[in-house]
Structures are given as C-alpha cells and as structure tokens.
Amino acid sequence: MPGGGHCPDCGSTELVEDSHYSQSQLVCSDCGCVVTEGVLTTTFSDEGNLREVTYSRSTGENDQVSRSQQRGLRRVRDLCRVLQLPSTFEDTAVAYYQQAYRHSGIRAARLQKKEVLVGCCVLITCRQHNWPLTMGTVCALLYADLDVFSGTYMQIVKLLGLDVPSLCLADLVKTYCSSFRLFQASPSVPAKYVEDKEKMLSRTLQLVELADETWLVTGRHPLPVITAATFLAWQSLQPSHRLTCSLARFCKLANVDLPYPASSRLQELLSVLLRMAERLAWLQVLKLDKRSVVKHIGDLLQHRHTLVRKAFRDGTAEMEAGEKELRGRCQGPEQGKEEVASSSLNLPEGKRPASPTPLLPPCMLKPPKRICPPPPVSTVTGDENISDSEIEQYLRTPQEIKDFEKAQAARQAARSVSNPP
C-alpha cells in the first residue's frame, strides 16, 4: 500500500500489494523484495471471524463434482451419521457412490433413483462389514418404495461388480431384540412383562437357529421369523403371566412394528415345537397344544438337536420309506407298516405316536393348489395350412362394425355430456 512502509532493501516507498499463488504479499516495485506475506490459510476476511476454512472447501475438489453428486455425497454422509455407523463405513459408502456416479446410466437417472442410490451404497457397505441393516430400515429412512429400491440395488450390484454377503442373522437378532422396549419397567410395560435382556437374547437366538434348521427361514424375509422367535422366548420365560398376551399386543408394548407374516411364522414355529415335544418322554403324557407347549420351550431348546433328529426324518428318506411301505402293503398289509413304524420309533408297542413327519419347507408340505396336468403332446409343425374360416372367426362382419362404431359414438357423446366443457 502506498501509505507508510519503505522497502528494507532499497528504501523505496513504492510498495505494491500483489498476490503470489493466492497468498497476498507486499512487494517493492523497485527491487522486488517481499516486505510482508499474508497467511497461507484462507480466512474469512472479517477479522472478527478469523478461523480456518476446512480443506474440502479450500481445495477445488468440489468444483469438478456436479452439484447433484455433491448433494448425494452429503446424503450418504448424513445417512451414515443417522445410523451411527463407524467412520470407515462413511468413507467406503462415499467411494461406492462416486464409483457409481462414473457410469452414465446413473448420472442420467432420475433424482428419485439417485436418492435411493444413497441407501444402496450405505446398505452394501454395511453388508460387507457384517453390520445388520435391513432394506426395510433404509427404505423407511429414505421414504423410498421397496420396489424402486430393489431395482436400483440389483442394478448397482451388477454395475459395480460387487460381492455382497448375505445378511448375518445372528447379528440381526441381537440388534433387533435390543430395540424391544421390555427391559425396563415403564408406565406402559407392567412389571411382570419386564425381562432380562441377556436371557431373552440367548433364547431368541436358539429359537431362530431352530427355525433355520427346520426350513422356516430359507426363502423368507428374516425379520418376521425373529419377531415370532422373540415373542416365544419372552412368553416362555414367564409363561404363567404372559400366555394371555397376544403377539400384536406384545409388539405394541415393546414399541416395535409388527410385520405382517410374523403370525404365520409363529404358528409354524409352534407346530415344529409340538412335533419335538412328541418325542420328549415326559411331555408325551401331557397332551400339549400350541398354547401349553410354550411352557416347555426351555426343555425343548435344551435338547433341540436330538429332538429334531428324532422328530423329523430327512425328506427323501421319508419318501423312500413311504414307498417301501406301499410296496409292503401290496404284499403283506400289516408287516411292512409295522416294520417301518417300529424301526423308526423305538417305542413300546402300546404307545405309537404319529410317524415322523418329513423335514421339509412349509411350501412343500402343503398340498399343491392345483395339479398341472402334463401338457398334451402336440404335433404342430408350424407350417400347417391355416383355413380361412379359422381366420374369419376373428373378424367382425360389416354389420357388427357399424354397430360397434355407433356404440362408440354414443359412449363418446355420453362422456362429453357428463363432462360439460
């Protein structure tokens, strides 16, 4: 600045304010000596606000990134913070989003899809680190439709060529059960309903493992199974007070949404437990039903491995046994059946519970809704003659055409009358 200061070298007063690589300097115009230098970090010009600008704002990195991509990256970071994920997850998710954005199909996609893409990147990151995050949670947080989410998710996994491991069931059980508000007494939760978290967790885990072993989990959404297992675990820990509580009420108390399939999963799980109870010596005498079996879930879980083996036969072995039985029936009606039954059961002659049911997924146990007959053998060659009469059956006669046109005109007229212009 012209007023005040001379150059220490030559003593001239011609000092010019110049900037060298955005660093402001006071330079002597005669000898080129630098009198004073500005601070390297940029600061807000107002002296009262002297603070550093973050690296990401001072560098030009965001200038090359489009605004929608910047917005997406911000959304990814926000979502990671809302879900309280570790910071490494955030970086990975951001990297996936940037990688996805390099593809032209994603750049040109609608905003709705880009929004959903944010959720997809976070979900993939969580899956790869075995963090149990369900798609339902992500969709709820993003206010997104599961159909749109599924399409984008499948597309991005294929596009980026990613290996996404399956959802870890044990971790999901732990996080989901912890979200149930039953571990402390509150105005809404009576004292008798409060339960110890560890006991409930361990029992729920055992029930979910049992469900997995007996084909109740494969092909189904995992969450309703866990809900049913949690309910049964909770009930069985104090059955005398809790048998009266229904599944819906339980979820309401625990402040958790009840997924729709949970009730049918519950019934399936109870029928599995009943089958197992039939094999337990001291439970056979009690004629258990779906309500009373809850009281003995503890015992059943303790011996679950042997009971499952005894109660269920491998599906194919059962079918073979059944076939042998049929053949036996043809030859000697009584002997084949008895042989099969007693060899598999090892029980005294007096008591003979039902023969073991096959261990199959419920969809295979239900009778088929409709039996598809094998298609008739057709000897169509594709080059047969097509008769005129066959084609004419599809064409309208002139009279029909006139009638149809009249009807259409009448409908148009009626419509225009009902919507006056």
Binding site: T134, T218, G219, C363, V380, D383, I401
Partner: protein, 427 residues
C-alpha cells in the same frame, strides 16, 4: 380382389417357408433389449413387461453360436481333408439309404450308431446346423458343386479344405437328424426335406466327429419321458458321455416362448381394432394392438410399424403357427402383410427336482453366479455363464429357466445345475 389376396397368401407362405429354410439369421439383427431375460421379480408373466427390467444384450447367444462351430472346426482341422470326389459316393449311398428307409445301421457306416440319443435335443449342433444349412440350399441347386457355396461366414483362417470338412460334417449332422425318426424334431420340416446330400461313411470323419463331441459329452442327455423318442436302449452313443446314472432324468417343460416377426407394412391400428374381434387398443396406455387367438393360445402385440411380438406359445412350432395366424388376420383386414424375420427371442422352461434346497449354502459356494436376497425375492437368481441362462431356484426345489434362444440351452442349463443342486440336498 381375390386373386391378389391369394397371391399374397402364397407369397406369405413361401416367405414363411423360405425364411424358415434359412433358419435363424446369424446376422446381427439385434433383438430388442426389452426382450431379454425377464425381470426376476415378475416370474409369473415372464414376458418382459413395463415392470423394472434390466436390458440385457441378447447377442451373447449369437456369439455362442459363432463360437461353437469355430471350436468344432478347429478340432476337425487335425484330421486330414477328404478329397472332393467322395461327395458323389455319398450321394449314391444316401439314395440307397432312402430306398431302404428303415435300415438304421447300414453296412460300412459305423457313424450311424452314435445317433443323438434324444429326439429333440441335439447338443449345440442346432446352431451350427442352421448356419450351415442356410448355405447348403444353394449347394442343392448348384448340383453339388461345392466351390459355388457361399461360405463367407466362416472365419478367414479356414482354408478350402476345412470348408469342405465343415460342409461334410454338417451333412453328417443332417443325416443323424434324418435317422432319429423323430416326429417332434426340433429342426423345421423343410430342412429335413432337403436331405439331398450324401451320407458319410468315412471312418476319419467319424473320428473327427468323436473329437468334436467330447466338449459336449456332459451336455448330451436322454429324455426317456418324451413319448415319441426312440428308446434309449436302442442307441449306443459312441462317444463317452456321462453315464446314465448321473443324468437327472428330469426334462424341463417349456412354458412360454416369445417371438418377433416383421410384417413389413405400415399398419393402421385403429382400423385393426375396429375390424378385428379379438383386438384391444388403448393408445393412451400402450401404443400397440393386443390381439389374442384361441388356438394356439397366444397373445400378440402388433405395432404400427408392422413389427409384431407373439407370446404365450408352449413350443417353437406353435409360436410360429400362431405368428402366421396373426399375420393372416392382418392380411385379411386388407394390409399387405408379409412374414419376415421370424425369430424366437426368449424361451422359458420350468421343472421340479423334488427335494428342498439350502439356498443360503448355494449362495455361499457359488457367489459369483448367484444372487439371493430373501428380503426382496424368495428365490435364488443363478446366472449361468455357459449357456447364458438365468435360473430362478426356489427352496421347494422348483427351478425356472429363462433367457434361452434355443431349447437345447434350457436342457443344457438344467443338466449343469442339477449336480450342483444335489449337493445341497441335505441340511
């Protein structure tokens, strides 16, 4: 009016025949990307609809069709080329054969015993056959003089000798098909009628045949359930195929065939919707007429450009017949419709392995091919690389196969997946 209609009909028929003789065009008439394998979340319809489809290139199957003859031909190159004049003796031999129709094993032709065991399923030869056959029609016309055959489709590195070999090998394929006595042959009839080419009795060629086949040994499979097939016992395969106990014995049933055809004339959709009883047209919803016929039970989408999509047929021939019927309807309505470029775009099959499958285990071991998201869809989506087929595998053991352009691809894909599924039979 009548004479022109008749001539038009004749032309359509001739075109239908002609086009079929040439077989599916290996030329890159790229299939509409929408007609690729259907979205996995709409298995019921399994025709590409407006739901979330992923565009898949259908050209990979065409690529496979090109790849196979090349690999076979390279195997043939190891064998010495037979001289040209042998083709005359082949012709004589064939005429002798035709005189004695029922003779399955004529003397001096050991090659006739290893006939393809399955009537309808010819392992991967159907692609190469159609390719060869398209050019063999000219051979017939040019009195068997092979130099006039246009074999420009073959890759450049092949010499004249290999061209002969390839042509002769295709003859042997045709002869095999002729001998299978199948009424339900997957090849179209005109091709079988053109068996004017000779038989091969050369043992060197039989050797080359066996060399060419080991790659397909695992894909050859019997189909004992086909009612018209020759019984397996009477055919002894010469090449070492997988023993019968390893074959699954289950044949996937075709459920849906999607095909396209070009009627090659601009259509007035309003007129079609007015004059045809079985048509619906709602331009605000979809820009095509939806027409249905009762026999074969199919649906067609007819666009104003003259292109048509025919869906719902249960076999290739039925799809072709249905498409011809739709073309006939359009013709009767007064349009100069033709029947060009009939092509099967997608085939869907299904079957049941009858045991439950641990999908979680399958996705762990075959991670690079499988996608199993129980939160989204109950089935596992298995993308097989060779052949390029998408399989939907369910816990009940039911398998849906889609994305095939040929019936053999579906059968081969199922034979490939069956041993994998058997590995997951037990818990």
């Amino acid at each position: 009016m009548a004479p022109t209609v008749c001539s038009g009909l004749d032309r359509v028929e001739a075109e239908a025949q002609g086009r079929d003789l040439r077989g599916p065009c290996p030329a890159p008439s790229r299939p509409d990307p929408q007609l690729g394998p259907a979205s996995p979340f709409a298995p019921a319809g399994l025709i590409n609809g407006p739901c979330a489809t992923r565009a898949q290139s259908g050209s990979a199957a065409a690529q496979l069709a090109w790849a196979l003859p090349r690999s076979r031909l390279s195997a043939l190159l190891t064998v010495g080329p037979p001289p040209m004049e042998e083709e005359q003796t082949y012709l004589e031999l064939y005429l002798d054969q035709c005189a004695a129709q029922d003779d399955l094993t004529p003397p001096g032709s050991p090659l006739l015993s290893p006939v393809v065991p399955n009537d309808g399923y010819i392992p991967n030869t159907s692609n190469s056959e159609t390719v060869f056959n398209s050019h063999l029609q000219e051979v017939k016309g040019a009195s068997g003089h092979f130099s006039s055959v246009d074999l420009s489709f073959l890759p450049d590195e092949l010499t004249q000798e290999s061209k002969d070999q390839s042509v002769i090998r295709s003859k042997q394929d045709i002869e095999e098909n002729c001998k299978t006595q199948s009424q339900q042959s997957r090849l179209s009839l005109p091709r079988e009628q053109d068996m004017g080419l000779g038989l091969i009795s050369d043992s060197t060629l039989s050797k080359s045949h066996s060399q060419a086949y080991p790659g397909d040994a695992d894909s050859v499979q019997p189909s004992p359930e086909k009612p018209n097939s020759t019984p397996l016992m009477s055919i002894t395969p010469m090449t070492p195929v997988t023993p019968v106990s390893e074959c699954s014995g289950i044949v996937p049933q075709l459920q849906n065939i999607v095909s396209t055809v070009n009627l090659a004339c601009k259509l007035d959709l309003k007129k079609i919707a007015l004059h045809a009883k079985n048509a619906e047209y709602n331009p605000k919803r979809f820009a095509a007429v939806i027409m249905r016929i009762r026999e074969p039970r199919t649906t067609a989408l007819i666009f104003s450009s003259g292109k048509m999509v025919c869906t719902g047929a249960k076999s290739e021939e039925q799809s072709r017949l249905a498409a011809r019927k739709y073309a006939r309807v359009v013709q009767k309505l007064g349009f100069p419709a033709r029947f060009l470029d009939f092509k099967i775009q997608n085939m869907v099959g299904s079957c049941d392995v009858r045991f439950p499958i641990r999908l979680e285990g399958l996705v762990l071991t075959h991670q690079q091919f499988s996608s199993y998201e129980p939160e989204l869809f109950p089935g596992l989506i298995y993308r097989m690389v060779k052949p390029r087929i998408v399989l939907l595998i369910f816990v009940s053991g039911k398998v849906v196969l889609t994305g095939a352009k040929e019936r053999s691809e579906i059968y081969e894909a199922f034979e490939n997946i069956y041993p994998i599924l058997k590995g997951f039979k037990k818990a």
